[in-house]
Symmetry: C2
Subunit: 593 residues, 2 copies
């Protein structure tokens, strides 16, 4: 069975030594002193290690079962769910006005990594509730908030997001689900939605579905879409559960992974629904939650990589095969542990340097979201809006890749069920697809975000990298050589790519769009290069200040050096691919394929 160790120390390092959250002037961050976060991370870590991780293979094997319209989750999920509720974890960052704990989002993400690493399929139930909570919180009426949020924050009710239909996913303008206005101000919702995660299950007493549908008079395409609350059980005026609504689970999807989460076909047969926010402005309501939701999926990607890496590392230290070419390391054993072999290390370093870099990137991004929301900082909002597709697309691609690398470390054992690596691969795979495929993320980045506000945000990104380099340059030769110089070079590749788009994209949109995916990856590498440089500065400072924990910080610097020397050079290839333009990609007629 796979292992899991909560990385509380490394999370603490990023929060307090790299991001220095306790020094940030963001409302609520003053509560986040190192002792408080350590205590919270410790508790969440225990829950992850002891309760969630052991259930992960159980959920995978048993999956969910639909019988007579009721979905049964795997054995033990209900108990674990109750423990999550009892611990108050579901409302950690929720609005205190409705019973939440009001902690910053950055802390929610640090905790979330451990929940996702230990059991991604399970954690999706509360993850979807969180998404539905956010939508109602941002766009619902006061009455709706009072009616739904307290129970959703508590977890006694859960939530879902209903977007996709059989004939449309990315292109939501094509949806057919109808909302007919009723005399009492409610709507009658009719249609079929697919791929609804946590659409039906036995963990909560009620399920609050958020549903995109078309109400009359909205016009064609996405303009005609509105957002509705459709509760599984209608809620009486006194808050008690009323009649069963006309919404039902029509089937469960058989899929590659996340078997512990019920992926449902949801049928709405004249179900009673309640408009959220303005009529025909449903897409806008969805979009406001997107940064958070997409950062959450990026987190899932690297969190699967994180747990996979731990298992690969354990195996590499235990498994005895062959001898170190530079001299026997384990003379009393029949062979040396495979971690002595350079190619096994290359593989482990790739995993480790990605996971730790991604952890910093996501927490840095979460802090930016806090800054945007809690300080209403438009620059922070612009920056995170720009980087959201990078966080989602790059971290899920690389997170999946990391699970595959980890699986490879185990050789044949990696292919067997028993060792659990193959589950991490199968579970991680969905993160590249849902919440907008990574191709759509790349399109969002290059087609929308780059040019937003006249390119202001991307310029701000380059300025940020530049001032970071300027601030730290020239103080430490090794830091310059190993971190700041490679970061500068990579950032220059990114600027060249942006320049190519500017010069060619207006005339030939396909010249930019053909390079969008490479641009997303190039951008991701620069961001991780920046994160590694930030961590190097922090660890260098700790060592210079005479920290007793020299091993931790020395390892951090060495891991960073690996990333800068071995992973960051990928920017060069991405740039060359981008600069080859649209022709190689677009030349063939569809019929010629």
């Amino acid at each position: 069975m796979p292992i899991y160790h909560a990385p509380t120390k490394d999370l603490g390092f990023v929060l307090h030594e790299v991001l220095k959250i306790h020094e940030q002037d963001i409302p609520g961050y003053d509560e986040l002193d190192a002792d408080t976060t350590a205590a919270i991370l410790e508790e969440a870590g225990k829950l992850s290690e002891n309760v969630l991780a052991p259930l992960n293979p159980v959920g995978d094997r048993q999956g969910c079962v639909l019988e007579n319209g009721v979905v049964r989750t795997p054995e033990g999920f209900k108990d674990a769910y109750e423990q999550m509720r009892a611990g108050g974890w579901m409302g950690l960052d929720a609005d205190p006005e409705y019973g939440g704990q009001g902690m910053p989002y950055v802390l929610n993400c640090a905790v979330g990594e451990m929940f996702v690493s230990s059991n991604m399929a399970f954690n999706m139930y509360q993850g979807l509730t969180h998404g539905a909570y956010s939508a109602i919180h941002a766009h619902g009426s006061d009455a709706q908030k009072q009616t739904y949020l307290p129970n959703m924050i508590d977890g006694i009710w859960s939530g879902t997001m209903n977007l996709t239909e059989p004939h449309c996913g990315t292109d939501l303008g094509l949806i057919r689900t109808k909302a007919e206005p009723q005399d009492d101000g409610s709507y009658s919702i009719t249609g079929s939605k697919i791929w609804i995660s946590a659409g039906e299950h036995d963990l909560s007493e009620n399920i609050i579905h958020l549903v995109l549908a078309k109400a009359p008079g909205g016009g064609e395409g996405t303009k005609g879409i509105s957002l509705f609350i459709v509760p599984k059980f209608l809620v009486n005026e006194d808050g008690s559960l009323g009649a069963r609504n006309a919404v039902s689970c029509g089937g469960l999807e058989e899929k590659m992974g996340i078997h512990g989460n019920a992926t449902c076909v949801m049928n709405y047969d004249g179900a009673r629904g309640f408009l959220v926010g303005e009529i025909h402005k449903g897409m806008r309501a969805m979009f406001t939650m997107m940064n958070e939701a997409r950062l959450g999926v990026g987190l899932q990607g690297y969190a699967q990589g994180a747990v996979a890496y731990q298992n690969a590392l354990g195996f590499a230290k235990d498994r005895l095969q062959g001898r170190d070419v530079t001299g026997t390391q384990n003379p009393d054993g029949p062979a040396d542990p495979i971690i002595v072999h350079p190619d096994v290390r290359r593989n482990l370093m790739a995993q480790k340097s990605f996971v730790e870099g991604a952890r910093a990137f996501v927490l840095w991004g979460a802090q930016m979201i806090d800054r945007a929301h809690r300080k209403e900082d438009a620059d922070a909002e612009g920056m995170i809006s720009l980087l959201t597709p990078v966080i989602k697309g790059f971290l899920t691609d690389k997170g999946f890749e990391t699970t595959v690398l980890a699986q490879q470390t185990l050789g044949g054992s990696g292919f067997t069920r028993e060792w659990g690596l193959e589950q991490f691969v199968r579970d991680a795979r969905i993160t590249m697809i849902y919440e907008g495929t990574n191709g759509v993320q790349a399109l969002d980045l290059v087609g929308r975000k780059l040019a937003q506000s006249g390119g202001k945000h991307v310029m701000a990104f380059f300025d940020m990298v530049k001032s970071f380099i300027a601030e730290h340059k020239g103080k430490d030769e090794a830091l310059d050589r190993d971190f700041l110089d490679p970061l500068k070079a990579a950032s220059k590749d990114l600027q060249s790519a942006g320049m190519f788009f500017m010069q060619n994209g207006m005339k030939t949109p396909n010249a930019a769009l053909s390079g969008s995916y490479d641009f997303m990856h190039l951008f991701g590498h620069v961001c991780l290069g920046l994160m590694w440089s930030k961590m190097a500065v922090a660890s260098r400072a700790a060592l210079d200040a005479g920290t007793s924990d020299t091993e931790f910080h020395a390892a951090k610097l060495a891991t960073g050096r690996y990333y800068m020397a071995r992973e960051l050079p990928a920017t060069g290839t991405h740039l060359r691919r981008i600069e080859s333009g649209a022709d190689p990609v677009m030349e063939l007629d569809a019929a010629q394929f």
Copy 2:
């Protein structure tokens, strides 16, 4: 359900227009005129499309079942197996002296691609038999050949390869299975083997196990290993089946994919075994089959990519989402097919250009094996020996990657069972692991093959590329610019990497070994660049000669241009990674991870 179209036309193009097999001075190739191969490919294609492909998802869902020591294969496998036997496919390239058809190996590979694409798990049963056949054919006594080969070629008996034990896979020197000499000249074999593909099943009347074991007096490590035939049923002097041997299936592995193939724990409890070849020279006997076996796994890798690509392409032409940014393509529909979107095309071109390049590479390699075997050409033997780890490692990594790309083309549908893409991903994953993990391939390439015969073979490779360029250079500006120049640049990167190893590897072996994986990929890209250049020359020639099939050849050139412009530049990043040396990889102590 997934589709499959046998790529007979493209196979014919590679065989006759690119490799021009009918013009090669290799014994047996004179029979391979275009009509003959077309007829054979056509028949194999029909079998693949109509019989094997429909069984592929069945095998995945049902898997194999072990009851009372007997393994039941999925429904329909037995019938399909009988059709394969009846068609004579199992002995296509086997020795006519024992009932085979004696066709060249290159044809076997062309046919094999279709069998593997349509049903990899099923095809492994005969694939393993072929491996065991080759071992006995190369190293067995005349009596052993007479006893076993005819029935194995027929398929009425099958075969296996037994190497791995629970505590050792890569490091076979550690095996514990014992062979005790008996008075009658046979051996008593005792031990446990794991991950034995097709170890037990209901498709054949007898199973001929080839088992590595240690006989007394052989010394430590791999030197003490011998190879034995251990039949499931002993064979009487008249060739009829005798007593059941003391070998049994102790369990089936639960694994990520290839569920239709039985992966067995095999227990040998004093089973009667018969020495193959010389005592204590078992490893050598295994190694002589390795080029073929590893090329076969490389073929599996790209063959899974090939069928995955077909399904991605079909989806991309059918699925309507969004509009072409350059202008609506499907005005009568609600949206355009997604193949209009640049990022979808980038994805499809990556798949297509890899699959077609890999197809050429494998058939080129198979032809090299024919040249080595049928002409006893030592240079060909040296060349294929050098390139075998590249074919295995690069094509399986990229083949797997291709299935993941294809899955991505389908968005959410790619994650569901129904569409079948996720099975191709799961099945392809094993190819990176078995027959020597890809890390071991890289080690073999850099640690052994590069320096073999004083570096003669790698020099011959560079000469081959150089003379190819010299032969075709300066005749066609577009050919030079799009193919020969990029090939030259990539080849230069490969040479620089080799130079780095030469200059650093002797003093610091880890400096070479830390770059071995990147070198394998760099080498693979140069090989595919060479193959695409060869195909470009062939298609250019066909167009210049006024072929009526202009679409096919124009598409070939465009696909090649994509590969050269977008995939080949990866060599630059691989070189930079290699040149960063051992430090970034080896710096951390094992304890610091």
